[in-house]
């Protein structure tokens, strides 16, 4: 079975994000970029499915600027077989990303598409579900376990009340949550090998998709910052302050 994994290049999760002084966005100049952590989990899951003999081929796709090829190469080093780069320097919002991925799905016809549940830049949590709707596929969002059984996949989902398991017809879309797996690191020999794996590049126009954004960002501001308060000497003082100063207990 063919598995398609979508990965996004985002600001590294360790980087302290700063809003630009002109309030047009966050400062990405000379900032370390990386694969979105949830996408790493998606790649890892696909690789494990291949190691189990469930997946036969893993195709990894990324939408973004030229530099997004770094993240595709990372996925190839982790075990994906070939890459597709939908190259654009324009901002691509979730609906348009889903439309681009739909075109790729129509060409590649994967049985399973795995994406991260959200990217840590826009924090939208939309693309996987939109792709599923546009392609008429079932979806297993916020997955903490994925078990393929014949023509179905059982997905255990992290939901507000606990865990919920659904059975989905294949082909299906799965979006990853944090507990699905712990991604491995790429080894040096595999990083070298990944350089030779096929990587095809195309434009949104090649896929026939209009990527003009529907949402415009009017401004981006820093959040209201909290002031550090006081240190209390002991528990008795803490309880006294909570009761008599803050009046919250």
């Amino acid at each position: 079975m063919k598995v398609l994994v979508a990965v996004k290049r985002v600001i590294d999760y360790n980087v302290k994000v700063r809003v630009k002084p002109d309030n047009t966005g966050v400062d990405l100049a000379n900032v370390k970029m990386a694969m979105n952590p949830f996408c790493e989990i998606a790649v890892e899951e696909a690789v494990r499915l291949k190691e189990k003999g469930v997946a036969s081929e893993i195709v990894v796709v990324s939408i973004g600027p030229k530099a997004a090829q770094e993240q595709i190469r990372t996925a190839l080093a982790l075990g994906a077989d070939r890459g597709i780069h939908v190259e654009t320097d324009e901002e691509v919002q979730s609906l348009e990303a889903a439309k681009l991925l739909k075109s790729v799905v129509e060409k590649e016809e994967p049985k399973l598409v795995i994406l991260g549940k959200q990217s840590i830049d826009s924090d939208n949590n939309q693309t996987g579900q939109m792709l599923a709707a546009l392609t008429g596929m079932a979806q297993g969002t916020f997955a903490s376990e994925v078990v393929v059984e014949g023509e179905k996949v059982n997905v255990t989902r992290e939901v507000d009340g606990g865990l919920m398991t659904v059975s989905l017809n294949l082909p299906a879309v799965v979006t990853t949550d944090l507990r699905l797996n712990e991604p491995r690191y790429a080894s040096l020999p595999n990083i070298m090998k990944a350089k030779k794996k096929p990587l095809e590049s195309m434009s949104p126009a090649d896929l026939g998709v209009d990527i003009a954004p529907r949402l415009s960002t009017l401004k981006v501001e820093a959040p209201a910052s909290r002031q550090a308060g006081v240190k209390v000497a002991d528990v008795a003082e803490l309880v006294d302050k909570l009761k008599n100063e803050a009046k919250v207990i």
Partner: protein, 313 residues
């Protein structure tokens, strides 16, 4: 303008988050209808009809919606919602699951997790784990929006008397089936709407030690939460995770115990009114956001806290 709010519920009771979402709808302005989709959910519809400011309650009661499967809810809400100017749902795991499907089926963008309404088409939402706050304007004819419940004070749950109307639209996409669920059972208040939250992190060392926090929580009628590290380590279940990619809480009092204060954790709790941190490392970043910081070993401080609370409560 006409706004459709999708109720959040468990087929027997209406979740408070729905009242927060109705408040967001009021901030947009216009007639507000509430859609209750579920199975044997009549009691929920009655509760929704009593909420302040609701014009009409639409009920889609069918086995296809009993487990809130995104494929079925997506089709239903896209069908019912296409006559409205705005479709709103709480940004919980149900809303996050089906709302993007609604947006895609209607060929419109979704605005996720709004914290403020600027106007009928302009909304404020957090990005980058809340390190930046974006004001976004939608050019679509229908605005599909998920709402951060803690950012809007709930409307009154009593006093309204909206008409209740049964819908006979059945959308069963036939793509997915419910298999099973393991729901955390707790007599404590719901984490996302509790007035006081006591959370533990990696410093708790194991799941058994969370009992200490539970005892403190029970004295105050608080909910118990956790950091990702505590959940990943298996101390506590996933539904207790507070943060960027877990639950968003904004209680009157948040007590962080053995939590360092990573930005992803802060994203889920920094709107709390009063924050207390108990951590043995005085350099821990959590102290930068704490109103009251106690540098101490939690294994001494938490039992003392229980004793002190017993004296005053």
């Amino acid at each position: 303008m006409s706004i459709l709010v999708i109720a959040e519920h468990d087929n027997s009771s209406l979740k408070q988050a729905t009242l927060n979402v109705v408040a967001a709808a009021k901030a947009i302005g216009g007639d507000i209808d509430v859609l209750v989709a579920g199975e044997n959910c009549g009691a929920v519809a009655e509760a929704a009809a009593k909420a302040e400011g609701v014009n009409k309650v639409l009920v889609a009661d069918n086995a296809a919606y009993g487990h809130f499967l995104g494929e079925n809810l997506g089709e239903l809400v896209a069908e019912v919602g296409k006559g409205y100017s705005h479709i709103l749902a709480a940004a919980g795991t149900v809303g996050k699951d089906f709302m993007p499907r609604v947006a895609a089926l209607l060929d419109v963008a979704q605005v996720s997790d709004i914290m403020r309404v600027e106007s009928e088409d302009t909304f404020v939402r957090p990005i980058y784990a809340g390190n930046a706050i974006a004001t976004v304007k939608s050019s679509d004819s229908i605005k599909v929006i998920t709402v951060r419940p803690t950012a809007f004070d709930p409307v009154a749950g009593e006093g309204g008397s909206a008409a209740v109307e049964q819908l006979d639209v059945v959308k069963d996409a036939g793509l997915s089936q419910f298999v099973s669920e393991e729901l955390a059972k707790s007599d404590r208040p719901d984490l996302a709407s509790a007035g006081i939250v006591v959370s533990g992190g990696r410093g708790m060392q194991n799941g058994d030690n969370f009992k200490m926090l539970e005892q403190v929580a029970d004295l105050m009628g608080a909910a118990v939460g956790a950091s990702r590290a505590a959940v990943d380590a298996g101390f506590v279940p996933n539904d207790m995770q507070v943060g960027q990619t877990g639950k968003i809480v904004a209680p009157q009092l948040y007590i962080a115990v053995g939590i360092s204060g990573a930005i992803q954790h802060l994203a889920g709790m920094s709107d709390s009114k009063v924050i207390v941190a108990i951590n043995k490392d005085e350099e821990a970043p959590i102290f930068q956001v704490a109103d009251y910081g106690l540098v101490a070993d939690l294994f001494e401080a938490v039992p003392q806290l229980e004793e002190e609370l017993k004296k005053v409560l």
